[in-house]
């Protein structure tokens, strides 16, 4: 009657739908916030918001995409402000997606001739490289390559056109490879890296 009263049945339904994706939500939150405490807070906020809006979720539709949309929105609206990251969104949406696509391709192609990454690229190097991406690229890479959402789902989650998803993913992956190649070429990059690897490894040990 007052919109908030829920049955235990509804809650167990929510919990059952949530459980399979909690690890994915947490892993994504960790890449977004780059900090375990913030990641837990972000997931907590996401789950609470999802629970509050659960009666607006259409049963039978994509719960996973729905809750990841809440995750990214919660992150963008709250946590991103604290991280003081510069968004590429305004810039990239101002120009046409196609134009960016080509120009980005050409410049990055020239700077970054293609080569094979090591067969066994270090996991923590990949994670550190993802963390080093700017936020718009990081979000699509997380959703596409870590969570393996489709372009359409990512477009829905981030509220951007599919073309934008594709262009960001293309450029995000390019950057990712570039970072990893540079690491392979110079295996002691401390101090030059945009992320604090010591702190990162400390966190890994704790996890």
């Amino acid at each position: 009657m007052f919109g908030f009263s829920r049955s235990n049945q509804q809650r167990s339904q929510f919990e059952a739908q949530l459980k399979p994706w909690l690890d994915g939500l947490y892993a994504s939150a960790l890449r977004l916030t780059r900090n375990e405490r913030n990641a837990e807070d972000l997931v907590q906020d996401t789950v609470m918001r999802a629970w509050r809006f659960f009666d607006r979720f259409e049963q039978g539709t994509n719960f996973r995409a729905w809750i990841f949309k809440i995750l990214t929105n919660t992150f963008i609206n709250g946590y991103r402000r604290n991280t003081r990251e510069r968004s590429l969104q305004d810039e990239s949406e101002r120009q046409s997606v196609e134009a960016r696509f080509f120009s980005a391709d050409q410049t990055e192609q020239a700077q970054n001739p293609e080569e094979y990454l090591l067969e066994r690229v270090m996991s923590e190097d990949v994670l550190a490289a993802i963390d080093a991406l700017s936020i718009d690229f990081r979000m699509v890479v997380i959703l596409a390559d870590l969570q393996e959402f489709s372009y359409k789902e990512i477009a829905d989650i981030l509220d951007v056109p599919v073309g934008t998803v594709m262009s960001r993913l293309f450029r995000g992956r390019k950057q990712l490879q570039k970072i990893l190649m540079e690491k392979e070429a110079a295996p002691a990059p401390m101090g030059r890296e945009p992320v604090d690897l010591n702190a990162f490894r400390e966190r890994k040990k704790l996890a």
Partner: protein
């Protein structure tokens, strides 16, 4: 398709996101272009290497965190349920209080309006339609109003007569008593809209004291310029204007039909 065209579609091609025709046209190009074939192979290898490495290191949500999360969820649900119960209870209580208070004050207000109008009409000393004693007046009202008018007797006051009039659009029987000071008694058939009980309540208006009480569905208002103490002697059990009706219930007024009195 040219090699440049492939650039724009490579990502989608590797992700299997191209529609069938586009995918076919990429494959046609690859079949004929050694460079692009190599590029696609490198890209696919790197993408897989990155994905696998990331997957291998995918963190899982700590158990203590999950436990806390579900506990919070449960508590939040309970809190919301309780909050909604509280909201409902508060709302229901608020509505009840508002209804009771509103109705109460409405009825008090109604009584006040009747007091005012009765006092006003008594002050005008309207001519009587019948000048007789208790019994004659009581008989005269019979059949003229749709409720039974009992004409009470008051000590040191004599029934002078009566008439019909309206008080606030409500038909009233008016009985005048002559004594030390003239008094007027208004008798209404009541629909329950005047807040008065069996116990006489004192009010005042237009320089008159007005005592109201109820006998079943009939409401009496005695208007007089006697002081309150004298009125209390006339109408035993009368309360002061500000005090709530407490104590002994019925007035010791003899309001039985005059015909039944000795």
């Amino acid at each position: 398709m040219t090699c440049r065209d492939l650039d724009t579609q490579l990502t989608a091609y590797l992700d299997g996101e191209l529609i069938a025709e586009a995918s076919l046209s990429v494959e046609n190009h690859l079949a004929s272009c050694e460079d692009c074939r190599r590029r696609v192979e490198i890209e696919r290898h790197n993408l897989n290497a990155i994905r696998q490495a990331a997957k291998a290191a995918a963190p899982v949500a700590p158990e203590h965190f999950k436990a806390r999360l579900f506990e919070n969820l449960r508590r939040d649900g309970d809190q919301q349920r309780r909050a909604s119960m509280r909201r409902f209870a508060a709302l229901a209580a608020g509505v009840t209080v508002a209804l009771v208070v509103g109705h109460q004050s409405y009825r008090s207000y109604q009584r006040r309006l009747y007091e005012q109008d009765a006092a006003f009409r008594h002050a005008r000393q309207l001519p009587l339609e019948i000048t007789q004693g208790n019994e004659g007046v009581q008989q005269w009202f019979g059949g003229k109003v749709d409720y039974r008018v009992n004409v009470p007797s008051f000590p040191n006051a004599k029934c002078a007569g009566g008439r019909l009039l309206n008080v606030r659009d409500k038909q009233a029987a008016y009985i005048r008593y002559d004594g030390a000071r003239p008094m007027g008694l208004f008798v209404y058939g009541d629909d329950g809209d005047v807040d008065v009980g069996a116990e006489p309540a004192m009010g005042n208006s237009h320089g008159y004291n007005v005592v109201s009480w109820r006998e079943g569905d009939v409401v009496y208002q005695l208007v007089s310029d006697l002081n309150e103490d004298d009125i209390r002697e006339l109408v035993p059990g009368t309360n002061a204007p500000t005090t709530a009706p407490v104590g002994s219930g019925t007035p010791q007024l003899d309001v039985r039909p005059a015909s039944l009195k000795q």
